[in-house]
Symmetry: C2
Subunit: 163 residues, 2 copies
């Protein structure tokens, strides 16, 4: 089992999306700036998130990504699974052939651990995270910091929208 930056980035980006995509799609450029994640890497992760039907992309100016479902219907487990992080803790992937076609001495332990983690991540949704005070705080701070980068661009867009 491994949970690396791949899964962390995916969840962080999805949470950013849930936070900012209420009105219109959010570009990966914005997410990359706010969350300090490499744009190209984000693109690769979102290719998988799209294939898993978690997000939908809109091309062209004013485009970007938005969630396919409500934030309360997207669990952390789904996101982590979508980008290919193995939550399973066994060597055999649950096949019980870890030692010469048989279960190894600790097979059940790792199965139970995997189930335990999976059910924990399944019960947490993006909406749950959005509701937390700490998350709101951090998101606010990121807005402040990324303002120079993002808002100048968005401001121009907004002016055009008003026209």
């Amino acid at each position: 089992m491994r949970l690396t930056s791949k899964g962390r980035y995916a969840v962080t980006a999805m949470l950013d999306l849930a936070f900012h995509s209420q009105l219109k799609p959010v570009t990966l450029i914005d997410i990359a700036a706010r969350q300090t994640i490499s744009l190209s890497y984000l693109e690769q992760l979102f290719a998988r998130l799209r294939r898993a039907n978690l997000v939908k992309g809109v091309r062209g100016p004013g485009g970007g990504y938005s969630l396919c479902s409500n934030a309360c219907d997207i669990s952390i487990a789904e996101i982590v699974a979508a980008v290919g992080e193995r939550i399973d803790a066994t060597k055999c992937g649950g096949e019980a052939n870890c030692q010469k076609h048989h279960a190894c001495l600790t097979h059940d332990l790792w199965m139970d651990l995997g189930d335990h983690i999976k059910s924990y991540l399944q019960q947490i949704t993006l909406a749950d995270l959005l509701a937390k005070g700490r998350v709101q705080e951090v998101a606010e701070r990121q807005n402040q910091e990324a303002r120079q980068v993002i808002e100048i661009r968005n401001h121009a867009d907004l002016m055009n929208d008003i026209k």
Copy 2:
């Protein structure tokens, strides 16, 4: 966070030890044969287990390893930590400086997940695993299979002991 063969091997070997070292120390050669783990790799793992005061080694003929404490006092979390597997799920190792000296958007989520896994593995001891029927079954099977390799040697030892 990652839980790889390193941690799995360590727990498996410790469980094998708990099972077989009641009477006398168990050699890594025996463990390697029963659990199909590379001997040299086992040596590296046991160096760390020894430094963590989980096992003690006895040199020379009749030597081997035995547990430092009772099986009911050794948790899976201790073993996994001893061989250096990071159970922590954060990028920052709990320092909360994951994004430019501040906490990232999902810092708390990964902290909570890490705590959750850690407390799960802390409450399970080697004795708990030994008590399980499945573990007994597998250990029996391994004894059968490894008999050709191990018992011939042990039989000779036993004859000498009787003399």
